[in-house]
Amino acid sequence: MSVLSQLNIIQVKELGKTVSTFEGDLTILSDINFSVKSGESVAVVGTSGSGKSTLLSLLAGLDIASKGEVYLDGEALHQLNEEQRARLRAEKVGFVFQSFMLVQSLTALENVMLPAELAGEKNAREQAQALLEKVGLAHRVGHYPSQLSGGEQQRVAIARAFIGTPKILFADEPSANLDSKNGQLIESLLFDLNKQHGTTLILVTHDEDLAKQCDRIIHIEAGQLAKIRDGEGVAAHVG
């Protein structure tokens, strides 16, 4: 394996996704090729229905591609079964969703602890507490999701995403369900923590301003990769 491919934490080759419908096969994605370096932040933008969420689920191993290859930290995702992909996610991947996706019956602290516990880490509680402090929720650790505001719930989700220091973080429209003030707070938290932990960030959004904060921006149009351009994040790195 070359040094270059080691640096490329995600590598996508000829990726395509087709689903069967009543009216015949429907191609959602085709001929996608790109790679992401370790520590890089990449925004995936496009209009609704362009296929960006599907791309994210294929990159994270939540779904399987119809054709092509995906390598995640050197492991060929397309050759792994559901179980192996689950193990890979537990070890290397964190998530932030548009709809927060917190377990309703668990407290904020327990929600954050969950991935670390699943990965069998010993100091899950301490890690979770530290992360909740970082997102400004130290005083609400014992609250259930239903007792938290949308912004607070998303902050818990971000804390959960960073526990166990995953190598890659996938975020699907993280601020789309929030007002602009809370949205900005979440976005800055996401980028700050990303920098602190040196995590690779794949951010799906249709918000151009948010996308610009990333190192690179991948444009998806009608299931195809239209263009890749640098974001403002590159300047920040250089600077």
Binding site: E83, A86, R89, F95, Q98, G150
Partner: protein, 833 residues
């Protein structure tokens, strides 16, 4: 406008399968109630009819004195069928042979219920017929043919009349268990009585009027008759206690009633669970409709229309399946019972429709009202309105509805209250205990790194939901265990009443000198027999010196006079013994010790009814002698056994005071009939009572009821299983989001499946254990309160409960989660997002 929208939505919902849950629950309730009530009703009617055969009527009036002709005439005016029986003993002569026969003269309409079994010749085929002998004919029991050396067609002299022997009498429907009839029975037409000249003033004659007809008319007639009845006139029905049949009949009816109630409870729980779940699933669509401008009124109409459509269609399907099910069951049952089961009438239809409608309305109403209150903001904040469903009002309405349904079904407030209050209290206690258990566990702070820890953590973290689930699991398992154990107990109790070696014949009137010869005869013929009891006839005259006739008449207005074995005011079989007979238990005082003082032990029922207390003095009249005896004990007597039982038992101090005859019971086989007939020929005073046919009748009834109970139990088991499945399904739907998040965050399928398996295993085992405990305690109370049998604990249930609970709940849970695991994570994510 809204109706069109409602219909469109309805069909869309149907296609999506959302409505199937609520539909299935109503249909389940309807089909359970319909099939249970119609099968039990048909079996009950059949049993009642068969039992009516046992007294050849629906009711009868018996007396030692001639009964007023007016009683018959008025009964006929009421529209009842009637018949008359007259019993007396008379000598039968054939050439030089003579024997004392037990004559029963019957009117042409006898028997009103059941059939008489006859043979045309001694060797001929036997057949059943509902008819009385023609004038001038006599039907004789087999024993008399051997004793007198007769054949069919011969002449026999009875009293002053000459009769043609026309049939061999094999069995009468109303042959009593312990009467002096037996194989010396002669059946005559009542019109021949004057010819015999056997019935004279002062003769020992026993009279019976038989009545049959509609239950309500019988009640009305009794209401007319009751004030005119005298002390020595007994009104008897098939359900009178203190007869093995009456008691068994009552027990089986109570069982079927209980089973029906449990069926309703289970269906109601299923309904409540699914109605709540359905409405919860509608939260988002309703929020969306409101957001898009749908008024509360429109939404109300749409969902009420959905509810009506679902109720109607599920009623229809439930009735159709229920009808099919009961047809299959009845078809199966009729293979085991000789006759066709009588039709059930309109009750099952009305009851099941009423219960279906009430179920649909009451259980859906509160969740539906909640649904209308869902704020449109839920479109943005999905958790808004989630708390609405768990409300005290919904609980109260549901609990009230269940109570009402049970009452509606049973029409018996005592049983309903007993069952309901017991279950409700225990559920409340259970809820508290399980909350304690789950929240106490939470403090242990297990870290969910493996399946067991995750299972326990999930159990702890969902204390409230689990407590509710635990209760419904426990309830379903409890009801099933309860019926299962009760069925086993009842059937084994019945089988114990008529064990294989039970005596089937009684020998009465054996002289003191002849006892040894009989013992020797039994030994030679290898006949198994019971002890020889001394017997004499007598009546109780006074209590503490006060004459009984007056005491009883004082209370006449308040008490039922239909107690055939009341023990007061008529002649009784009395005995003395120093050994407490089997099936008797001393309740108060002490069994006899050696003394010269005359003492008596009294059956509790008689003591209670007449007001006899320990230490009282009873005056007995035997022939012309009067005795005073002190009451030293009150006994319980198991009338359910086919053994001889006595209302009054004296101590052996009685032994020297009276000449007695002896009484024993023996088990006779087919090859003993001729030798015993010959033996009895040498002892003309000895009577034999053959109860073989009675035993066969009781056994066939037990077999039939056992079958019925087996069927009812299987229906309740199916309902119970459906409740468990719907509960697991509902809880899994709630867990779906967690499963998906766990999966996304990298939890492996094995971990999730095992965690669910262990979680349900623990929950099921706990529910099963609690169910076993509660079921056994309830059973103890119910057996004592409703079935009048001694309750006992069943250790095997305590093992069966947790085992069956754990395996059943865990299995269903595991398969359902395993099914979820096969779906792709992204697909699941879309479903819950």
């Amino acid at each position: 406008m809204w109706a069109k929208l409602a219909l469109r939505l309805f069909f869309r919902e149907l296609r999506r399968g959302e409505l199937t849950i609520i539909f299935a629950a109503i249909a389940l309730a309807v089909l359970t109630v319909f099939s249970l009530s119609s099968v039990t009703e048909r079996i009950r009617l059949n049993i009642e009819q068969k039992s009516a055969d046992f007294i050849a009527a629906d009711r009868r009036l018996a007396s030692n004195h001639e009964l007023d002709e007016r009683y018959l005439k008025v009964a006929q005016d009421f529209g009842l069928e009637t018949a008359q029986n007259i019993f007396f003993d008379s000598m039968l002569f054939v050439d030089d042979e003579l024997v004392l026969g037990s004559i029963k003269a019957v009117s042409n309409s006898h028997p009103l219920r059941g059939k008489i079994t006859l043979r045309d010749t001694l060797e001929g085929e036997q057949y059943d017929i509902a008819a009385a002998p023609a004038k001038g004919e006599a039907w004789l029991s087999e024993g008399l043919f051997y004793t007198l050396g007769l054949k069919v067609g011969d002449k026999v002299e009875i009293g002053a009349g000459m009769f043609t022997v026309s049939k061999v009498l094999v069995q009468e429907p109303d042959s009593a268990f312990f009467s002096l009839a037996g194989n010396k029975r002669v059946l005559l037409n009542i019109a021949d009585i004057p010819t015999t000249q056997a019935v004279q003033p002062g003769s020992d004659v026993f009279y019976r009027l038989l009545f049959a007809g509609d239950e309500q008319i019988l009640k009305d007639y009794y209401a007319w008759l009751k004030p005119q009845l005298r002390e020595n006139q007994n009104w008897q029905g098939i359900k009178d206690r203190q007869s093995p049949l009456g008691e068994n009949l009552e027990r089986s009816e109570r069982f079927l009633l209980l089973a029906g109630l449990f069926g309703i409870m289970l269906a109601a729980v299923a309904m409540a669970v699914s109605a709540k779940r359905y409405c919860e699933r509608q939260y988002d669509p309703v929020a969306m409709m409101k957001t898009l401008g749908g008024s509360r009124d429109t939404i109300k109409r749409i969902f009420l229309m959905h509810l009506s459509l679902v109720t109607l269609s599920s009623l229809f399907i439930g009735l159709a399946i229920g009808y099919g099910l009961q047809e299959v069951a009845v078809d199966y049952l009729t293979r085991f019972v000789a006759n066709e089961l009588p039709p059930a009438g309109p009750r099952p239809w009305l009851l099941s429709i009423a219960i279906g409608v009430v179920c649909a309305l009451m259980f859906s109403l509160k969740p539906l009202l909640d649904l209308f209150d869902i704020p449109p903001l839920r479109v943005l904040r999905r958790s808004l309105g989630d708390k609405l469903a768990v409300s005290r009002i919904h609980m109260a309405v549901s609990v009230g509805t269940i109570f009402m349904l049970m009452w509606l079904f049973s029409g018996d407030i005592k049983t309903t209250l007993l069952l309901f209050a017991g279950t409700a209290t225990l559920m409340a206690v259970l809820f508290g205990l399980s909350r304690l258990f789950f929240s106490a566990g939470r403090k242990l702070g297990l870290s969910p790194g493996n399946s067991w820890s995750l299972a326990i953590a999930t159990l702890q973290k969902r204390a409230n939901a689990n407590a509710v689930q635990l209760i419904s699991f426990a309830l379903a398992i409890k009801l099933m265990l309860f019926l299962f154990v009760l069925k086993n107990d009842m059937i084994s109790d019945w089988q114990m009443q008529v064990p294989e070696d039970a005596p089937n014949a009684f020998m009465i009137n054996i002289g003191e000198r002849d006892v040894d010869q009989f013992k020797q005869f039994f030994a030679e013929q290898n006949i198994h027999h019971e002890a020889f009891y001394p017997v004499f006839r007598g009546r109780v005259n006074a209590l503490n010196g006060e004459a009984f006739a007056r005491r009883v008449s004082k209370q006449e207005g308040e008490q039922e006079q239909d107690d055939a074995r009341s023990g007061v005011g008529r002649e009784l079989n009395l005995t003395w013994t120093d050994t407490l007979p089997d099936g008797n238990e001393i309740l108060e005082g002490q069994w006899f010790e050696q003394t010269d003082e005359l003492q008596v032990s009294v059956f509790e029922g008689t003591a209670e009814r007449v007001g006899i207390e320990l230490g009282d003095t009873l005056t007995f009249l035997v022939n012309t002698q009067t005795f005073e005896a002190k009451v030293t004990s009150i006994r319980s007597v198991d009338w359910g056994t086919l053994k001889p039982n006595f209302v009054m038992i004296f101590n052996s101090a009685m032994a020297e005071r009276l000449p007695v005859t002896y009484f024993t019971a023996a088990k006779l086989e087919e090859n003993h009939v001729r030798p015993i007939s010959r033996m009895l020929l040498q002892y003309p005073t000895v009577s034999m009572i053959d109860i073989k046919n009675n035993i066969a009748q009781v056994q066939s009834m037990i077999a039939q009821v056992s079958l019925a109970i087996g069927f009812v139990l299987s229906i309740v088991l199916i309902s119970g299983a459906l409740v468990l499945i719907s509960q697991v399904q509902a809880s899994l739907a709630e867990r779906m989001q967690e499963v998906v998040i766990l999966r996304t965050l990298g939890a492996r399928g094995r971990l999730i499946k095992l965690a669910t398996l262990y979680e349900f295993l623990l929950l099921g085992a706990l529910a099963g254990f609690v169910a076993a405990l509660v079921s056994d305690i309830t059973l103890l109370v119910i057996q004592q309160q409703l079935f009048d049998v001694e309750g006992r604990l069943h250790p095997y249930v305590w093992l069966l409960g947790p085992l069956s609970g754990a395996s059943f709940v865990a299995l269903i849970g595991y398969f359902m989660v395993a099914h979820t695991m096969r779906q792709n994570t992204q697909g699941l994510l879309r479903k819950v997002a």
